[in-house]
Amino acid sequence: MLKVSNLSVGRGGISLLNDVNFVLKAGQALVLRGPNGVGKTTLLRCVAGLQDPLLGDIDHEGSVAYAAHAEGIKGSMSVIENLKFWADVYGRSMTEEVLLTYKLNDLAQRPAANLSAGQKRRLSLTRMLVTGCNLWIMDEPTASLDAENIALFYMTVNSHLQAGGAALLSAHNDLNLNAETLDLAQFCKARSIVTSNFDEPLE
C-alpha cells in the first residue's frame, strides 16, 4: 500500500529526518511518534505529496486522503454540504448514513461555523470516510476529541483496516490502537544543511 524508502525530509533548508524506511500493508496502521518539532507533520506532508522529499522514494497506489491540523471546513456551508463537496471532489457518491459514524446526524444541517472544535474535528474525520480512499494520512487526529469520540475514532480506524485500508497517523500521546509505532526521534540524529552546493566554503 505504502512504501517509504531511504526518505529524508526537511524544512527551511535543514533536514529533519534522515533515512526513514517503512512499509505499510493493507490492513495495517502505523503511528508516528515523537516530540514537537521532530518532523511528524513534514513527513506526513511529504507522503501526502504536498512537499518534495529531500531524498528517497515514496510509493503508494491510488489517491490518499489527508487530514491536516487545519481542517478546511467552510463555515458558511452546513455539515452535510461540506461532506458532499469532498465526496464530489473524490468522485464518490455519499449517503447520509456516514454521518452516524461520528454521531453528526443531528448536526447535519447546521452551518459548520457554529460547530465546536471537537465537532469540527469529527467532521474532518468523517471526511476521510467520504473520500473512499484506502490510504489515510492523519496528522494528530485525536486532538480536541473527548474520550467517547476517541473510542469512536479507534473503532472507525479498525473497521477501515479490516476493510483492507491502511492508515498513517501521527500522535504525541499514546494511541490505544492496535497499530505499530514508529518513534521518529531515532531518525533525527544526523540533521544537516541541505541547500545543494552551498554546504561547502565558497573560496
Binding site: 486522503a65 487530514a67 478546511g72 456551508m77 469532498w86 471532489v89 473524490y90
Partner: protein, 218 residues
C-alpha cells in the same frame, strides 16, 4: 472541477463578498469621477469608455486576492492539493467562479453605469461585449497573481503591483474597441484581440499558476 466551481459561487454569494462588493466599488468609482472631472456632459461622454473599463478592471483586481486567500488560510487548499483534482483545474474552477460572481455582473452593469457618464446605449452595448470578452482574462490574470502572493501577509498591495502591468494589453484593446464604437467607427480587430488574450490566458496560465501553488504549499 464543476463541484469546486459551484462551491466557490455558493460561498461568495453567501458571504456577500462576491456579487455585491465589486459591483458597489465599480459604482462608487463611476460616481466619484464626475466630481473629479466636472459635470460637462461632452467631456464625460468622451472619457466614459476608458473610465468604465478602468473601473471594472480595478473592481476585478480588488476582489481577486480572496480567490485563494480563504482556502489557503483554512487549509482547504492543502486538502485540495492532495485530492485527485489537479491544481490546474483548481485554478480554472476558481477563476471561473470569480468571473461569474465578478466579471459577469460588472460587464452587465457597465452599460447602465455608463448612462451616468452620458454614454449612449449603443456604445454601451459594445462596452458590455468588450467586457464580456475581456473580464475572463482579468479574472484569470488576477487569480494567477493571487497564486503568487498566497503566503504574503498583507499581500493586497503586492498583488496589485504584480497584476496591474499584466492587465495592460487587455485594457488597451478593451478601451480601443469601445472608443472606436464611440467615434462611430467600424469595429476593428480589438474585440478579437481581447478574445485572443482571454483564450491565451486559459491556455497558458493554469500551468504556471499550478506551479506557483505547488511552490506556495511546500
Amino acid at each position: 472541477m464543476i463541484q469546486l466551481f459551484t462551491r466557490d459561487v455558493v460561498l461568495s454569494v453567501r458571504s456577500g463578498g462576491g456579487f455585491g462588493l465589486a459591483l458597489a466599488f465599480f459604482l462608487i468609482v463611476v460616481v466619484l469621477m464626475p466630481f473629479a472631472l466636472g459635470p460637462d456632459q461632452f467631456v464625460l461622454a468622451k472619457i466614459a469608455p476608458g473610465l468604465l473599463w478602468l473601473g471594472a478592471l480595478l473592481a476585478c483586481l480588488l476582489s481577486s486576492d480572496r480567490i485563494f486567500g480563504m482556502d489557503y488560510e483554512d487549509g482547504t487548499l492543502e486538502l485540495l492539493a492532495t485530492s485527485p483534482l489537479p491544481l490546474e483545474s483548481v485554478y480554472l474552477a476558481k477563476s471561473a467562479a470569480h468571473w461569474l460572481t465578478t466579471g459577469l455582473p460588472l460587464s452587465l452593469a457597465a452599460p447602465v453605469f455608463g448612462l451616468l457618464l452620458n454614454l449612449n446605449l449603443k456604445v454601451g452595448g459594445v462596452l458590455c461585449l468588450s467586457l464580456l470578452l475581456g473580464t475572463p482574462a482579468l479574472s484569470l490574470i488576477g487569480s494567477f497573481g493571487a497564486t503568487l502572493t498566497l503566503g504574503v501577509r498583507r499581500g493586497g498591495l503586492l498583488l496589485s503591483l504584480l497584476v496591474l502591468p499584466l492587465y495592460i494589453p487587455t485594457l488597451i484593446f478593451g478601451a480601443l474597441a469601445v472608443n472606436a464604437a464611440a467615434l462611430g467607427k467600424a469595429l476593428d480587430g480589438s474585440l478579437l484581440s481581447i478574445l485572443a488574450i482571454s483564450l491565451g490566458a486559459i491556455a497558458v496560465l493554469p500551468f504556471f499558476s499550478a506551479m506557483a501553488l505547488r511552490a506556495n504549499l511546500q
